[in-house]
């Protein structure tokens, strides 16, 4: 009797040990998304990530595991941003973070991301300080990567290229004014821009900052007019680009403007200001043009799914998912250190260009990498690429009331 039960138990144990552990492999890979949920950038970040996840899952997932998205609202307040990171890392225990928008919030989140030892792929914040820490303190901050946008310093260089290549080079204008909102990334960027412009032979007649909350631009516009400038370079992000466009148009301001205008990157910006931005030139990271084989399919698929035109965070967010998936597949694990090694070697054909990281884990601009496209709003709110010349889709127009 006893021998039989021992035999029986032995058989059971053997059977149990022989069965492969079924559960472990099907645990999904969780992508945490800290983003400003109520804003367009947040909505597009989520939709772009969802697009990528659906695509990868349909093809079998990564290492046999499905991808899953968990979103947390970081708003534009550092306090909410920090608790969003804690929620995602400590509570939801995500494997990677993809998101970001306001540089101030991202900077606040960095030490908490580092403490959680979770990889972070930035898609929206442009401050160079974010990736500077990677070099300063690699061991603690190696988790931080930026897939987009190109950082403020590089943006300045691209705008300088625009000034020398187009404003001066083609339009023949050398007297310019530079105005920007008094946000730190702008304040860091403008001196670099000014120096670059002067080196390129431009005559910078006026440099001025204004408060992001400004609602009356008449004093500023008057100063610009008095300065004798013939082109206005703007650097706008959180500020009221809509008011600026409306007031510029209403006053039939005699000077055309263009530059970095984040809100103007929106496909419906022109409609939202009642067509009053016609004539403005704004830098875009990507438009529906064959920048890479991925660009047009992305725009079309995004429009089909959401009936909207994607804003800039969408490009980085979508690319980031594929880049991460690729790194995990190569590392054959989600363990951060292994994945980081693969991420550093990334060379991925993304939406705005080829995505490769420099020694500070920051996306490399220029050449095959993402570049600024200077796009102009034209009649009936059509958008045409004007610069670089190689990607030009239409001729430059001067605003209707400016005699040229």
């Amino acid at each position: 009797m006893k021998k039989l039960s021992i035999l029986f138990s032995a058989v059971c144990v053997a059977a149990a040990l022989a069965t492969p552990p079924a559960r472990a492999q099907t645990k999904p890979i969780r992508i945490g998304v800290p983003t400003a949920m109520q804003l367009q950038v947040g909505r597009d970040t989520q939709d772009a990530i969802k697009m990528a996840i659906d695509d990868i899952n349909a093809k079998g997932g990564v290492l046999g595991r499905k991808l899953e998205m968990v979103v947390a609202d970081e708003t534009e307040n550092p306090e909410t941003g920090i608790s969003a990171i804690k929620k995602l890392t400590a509570d939801e225990k995500v494997d990677v973070l993809i998101g970001g928008y306001t540089s101030g919030v991202t900077l606040a989140q960095l030490p908490h991301i580092s403490a959680a030892k979770t990889i972070y792929l930035g898609v929206g914040a442009a401050s160079p300080s974010i990736t500077a820490k990677v070099k300063q303190d690699y061991d603690n901050y190696k988790y931080i990567f930026r897939v987009g946008p190109i950082h403020a310093g590089n943006q300045a260089k691209q705008v300088t290229g625009f000034i020398s290549g187009f404003i001066k080079g083609e339009l023949g204008i050398s007297k310019i004014a530079i105005v920007g909102e008094s946000a730190k990334w702008v304040q860091d960027l403008v001196p670099v821009l000014k120096k670059g412009a002067i080196d390129a032979g431009a005559d910078v007649r006026l440099t001025e900052f204004f408060d992001s909350q400004t609602s009356d631009f008449s004093p500023l516009l008057a100063k610009i007019k008095d300065s004798g400038a013939q082109y206005l370079i703007v650097i706008l992000s959180h500020a009221s680009s809509d008011i600026f466009a409306k007031q510029w148009h209403d006053a039939r301001f005699p000077i055309p403007y263009g530059g970095i205008d984040v809100k103007s990157m929106d496909g419906d910006f022109c409609d939202r200001v009642g067509g009053k931005s016609v004539g403005e030139m704004a830098a875009n990271f990507a438009v529906r043009a064959p920048l890479t084989p991925k660009t047009i399919p992305f725009f079309d698929e995004f429009k089909k799914r959401t009936n909207r035109s994607p804003v800039y965070t969408a490009f980085g967010a979508n690319d980031a998912v594929y880049i991460y998936a690729q790194a995990v597949a190569l590392a054959k694990s989600t363990e951060p250190n292994a994945v980081i090694k693969e991420l550093e070697k990334t060379s991925y054909v993304g939406i705005p260009g080829m995505i490769e990281f420099d020694e500070m884990h920051d996306v490399k601009p220029g050449g095959k990498g993402p570049n600024f496209l200077f796009v102009q709003w034209q009649d009936k709110c059509a958008r045409e690429v004007i610069y670089p010349k190689a990607q030009r889709t239409a001729a430059y127009i001067t605003p209707a009331w400016i005699k040229k």
């Binding site: 001025e208 009356d216 631009f217 008449s218 004093p219």
Partner: protein
Amino acid sequence: MLEILIHGAVSSAIYAMLAVGFTLIFGVARILNLAHGTFYALGAYGAYFFTSHLKLPLFLAALLAIALVAVFGVVVEKVLVRPMRRSQLAVLMITLAVALVVEQALFLTFGSEYRNVPAFVDAKFSIGGVDVGGQRLLALGVSVALIALLWVFIQRTRLGSAILAVSQDPEAANYMGIPSDRIFSIVMGISAALAAAAGVLAGPFLTVQPTMWLLPIVKAFAIVIVGGLGSIPGSILAALMLGYAETVVGYLISSSWTEIVSVAATLLTLVFRPAGMFGKRAAF
């Protein structure tokens, strides 16, 4: 110089419209209505909604928006504010909560991106070499007209006298047969209508997005306090002072300093004249 004069006038006019409504409801009902900025926002959004979604002509859309906001103001007063009237802080907090709820409702309905309120006048005018948008001049003109109309209404009509009576002493007014509760509602409606009108007029050249209620109410609060709570002439004067101070600083120094100058001026005024310029005595 002329630029400062004209642009300062436009800023002051919008501020005056907001401040007068705010001080009116306080003067009459002792209500500090933090949802006043919300009426401004709803006016603008109403005009946007009726023109772009319902395709109504602009003038009709504007009137409809103003009327609906007036009704909304009356409802808020009757349902939420009146039960809390004993405590000024309670009224403040609940109107603030209303503002937050409406802001969220706007986010959820219309999204975070700014919307377009069409302008009545699209042309540009050149006055003495100064370029001014037509809509701005219209806003200036209509503001002045509406405030003047309000003044005449209060001074010359029976309802206006009733309002004056209630503002001086609600109980006594009640004894005299004036239904002070109904007067509160009417005044709230007028106040809301003024704010909504400001929204409709300024929407075309200022920003229209869900958080647009906060800055106007902070400014209106400051103007009304500096002018003296409850005093319409005080509010108008303070609105002019603020409007011109901001414009002057913007032109002569830099737009970065406008905010701090106006806030510092507010603080200084309070330190030297604790009850504002026209104090608590002058009701109207």
